[in-house]
């Protein structure tokens, strides 16, 4: 039977969450297209990974090689291009992550298989593969058709599909000999580096004030710090604020920063690129202040204020301050 591949992503001994999200979607698609869901794991001593994956797939293909322990797109591409050429899966899914972004385009190009990147949904309509992608910073969605082919590669945005635990599928684990015969010539993985940890653990805070590009200027930072202090919360941010070095990197919420789930998240001047939304959309209560009524942040917020933040913040600060004083 034709297979549908889901490429497992792991790092520092852990399978990444996106893998299970993809397997959940893969299961649904495999059922619809009457294909076998096969999880692929490339690694070294990957037995435990394979066992976990077996619960979520009909088959697990394991390729063991010390050179596959840490992700190196050159080595991964050598293995996967052989595997896909031989087994001809109808579809190969991987995450639109630092892993998938580095691997999928070159793999697809080598194999001459159509690639759709950063998809938030996909479906087979008859024999045609259609995907949904977000464009213009998440303000618009596109439905696109992928050129007809006997196989496709699709990268999926993380946190798009929810992982369903379901009944373990008891997939068969098949170990395949590593096809890596020659040296990895061009590219070497050296090490992981973790930027120095900050003093504040933003994942532990109950209240977070998230700020973004709308803050406009470093001079406005004290105003935001004061709001956070009044609320007894911590100031966090989206990427542009870290790029400008107005806050340290450990305050960044989103895919390249931390994922947070506080009781309260007030987003101020954040338009809501998906990279940021992914990191905060599961907060208990989200209040968004942004002057653009179409800003994507309002799609995940519980309450929204469409107004210039500079008009709201000073007033909000004094109101909260009054409320706290009345309380004590």
């Amino acid at each position: 039977m034709t297979e549908l591949f889901v490429l497992a992503e792991h790092r520092q001994g852990e399978i990444r969450d996106v893998t299970f999200e993809l397997l959940t979607k893969g299961k649904e698609l495999a059922k619809k297209t009457s294909t076998d869901l096969t999880a692929i794991v490339l690694g070294h001593n990957a037995g435990n990974h394979a066992k976990r994956l077996a619960d979520h797939a009909k088959r697990v293909l394991v390729i063991e090689d010390p050179r596959l322990e840490n992700f190196n797109s050159e080595a991964y591409q050598m293995v996967l291009s052989q595997l896909i050429s031989q087994r001809k899966p109808s579809l190969t899914l991987m995450g639109h992550t630092a892993f998938g972004v580095d691997l999928a385009p070159s793999l697809a190009t080598e194999l001459n298989l159509p690639l759709a990147t950063d998809c938030v949904d996909l479906d087979f309509e008859g024999e045609t593969l259609t995907v949904i992608r977000q464009v213009y910073g998440g303000k618009v969605n596109v439905k696109a058709r992928v050129r007809k082919s006997e196989g496709y590669i699709v990268t999926i945005r993380p946190a798009t599909f929810e992982t369903e635990e379901g009944t373990p599928l008891g997939g068969k684990i098949v170990t395949i000999e590593s096809p890596l015969s020659e040296d990895i010539e061009y590219k070497r993985f050296i090490e992981y580096v973790q930027p120095p940890a900050g003093e504040v653990d933003i994942t532990a805070a109950d209240s977070l004030i998230g700020i973004g590009r709308g803050i406009k200027d470093a001079d406005n930072m004290p105003m935001m710090e004061e709001l956070a202090a009044t609320l007894g919360g911590v100031l966090v941010c989206s990427r542009p604020i870290v790029d400008k070095e107005w806050l340290p990197a450990d305050r960044q919420v989103g895919t390249s920063g931390k994922t947070v789930k506080p009781k309260l998240y007030i987003a101020v001047g954040i338009s809501g690129a998906f990279q940021h939304l992914t990191g905060m959309k599961n907060s208990d209560l989200i209040i968004a202040i942004n002057k653009d009524p179409k800003a994507p942040i309002f799609r995940v917020a519980d309450y929204g204020v469409v107004e210039d933040l500079f008009k709201i913040v000073p007033s909000l600060k004094s109101k909260i301050s009054e409320a706290r004083e009345a309380h004590t």
């Binding site: 990444r16 580095d102 385009p105 159509p114 977000q134 303000k139 992981y192 338009s271 209040i287 179409k294």
Partner: protein, 262 residues
């Protein structure tokens, strides 16, 4: 070091109103301000800084219409030595794959040690062109890079991974690197730069000059065809708080109090 930097002229949409046009397949761009793609801005700056440190030259290249010249001139004013625009009616409707094929034809004829692109574009966001281009050229690549160093014929780069972690990778040159925002601080365009840019030429190459066939590019040469555009559905129904600033902040305070958050 000979550096080629691929850049894209894109509409600024972060703070603009976006409307989908009558075809349902594009957005209205008439009232939007176009500029260099945000990620490419950092890639250009990195290229110029590397040239200033190591010598050599920087070539800025883009695929698109004549409108892109203002962005190419910006690259020249910021320190690129030459600019190449790849333009042809046949290129219209190209997706990331077709765009990479066009760039490939132009670049394979040029000397280079390093190719830089932005990690992605702010408009269609494929995050695909750079890596596809590297594969077509047969050179190694690294994506979402936050730091670049060189020793001999090796590039040592820090890739940004999820959760703030970075992976250090070494690659043999020539190589292609896609640049993540925040890697440097892009400089302003100076008047001196504009004056210097005057004597630099923007070279224009089309389908024929590049030796491409019509079915290799544009819609025919693409993997993706846009069927329709639509406004994304909401994940949850937001309640918009209306009123004066004073009324709104009172409402927020009431909500916070009711939930025991203050």
């Amino acid at each position: 070091m000979e550096i080629i930097v691929c850049i894209k002229h894109v509409p600024e949409t972060a703070e603009a109103d976006i409307t989908i046009d009558e075809s349902g397949k594009r957005i209205e761009v008439e009232d939007l301000v176009f500029d260099i793609n945000e990620w490419d801005d950092y890639a250009l700056e990195e290229a110029v800084q590397l040239k200033e440190k190591l010598g050599g030259s920087v070539t800025a290249m883009t695929v698109g219409s004549e409108e892109g010249d203002s962005t190419l001139r910006k690259c020249l004013a910021r320190g690129a030595d030459r600019a190449i625009r790849l333009t042809d009616k046949a290129f219209e409707g190209s997706d990331g794959y077709a765009t990479a094929k066009i760039l490939h034809r132009a670049i394979k004829e040029l000397p280079y040690d390093l190719i830089l692109t932005g990690a992605q574009a702010g408009d269609d966001g494929y995050a695909q062109v750079g890596v596809t281009l590297a594969e077509l050229l047969g050179v190694p690549h690294a994506t979402m890079v936050k730091k670049v160093e060189f020793s001999g014929d090796q590039a040592r780069v820090n890739r940004e991974l999820e959760g703030g972690l970075e992976a250090v990778i070494e690659m043999k040159l020539p190589a292609l690197i896609t640049i993540q925002t925040g890697i440097n601080e892009p400089r302003y365009v100076s008047i001196m730069g504009i004056r210097k840019a005057k004597s630099k030429e923007i070279k224009v190459l089309g389908l024929k000059e590049l030796g491409l066939k019509e079915d290799e590019v544009g819609k025919a040469g693409s993997w993706m065809t846009v069927e329709r555009m639509f406004v994304p559905p909401v994940e949850k129904e937001v309640e918009i708080l209306e009123g004066t600033s004073d009324e709104v902040t009172t409402k927020i305070t009431d909500i916070l109090r009711a939930k025991g958050l203050i």
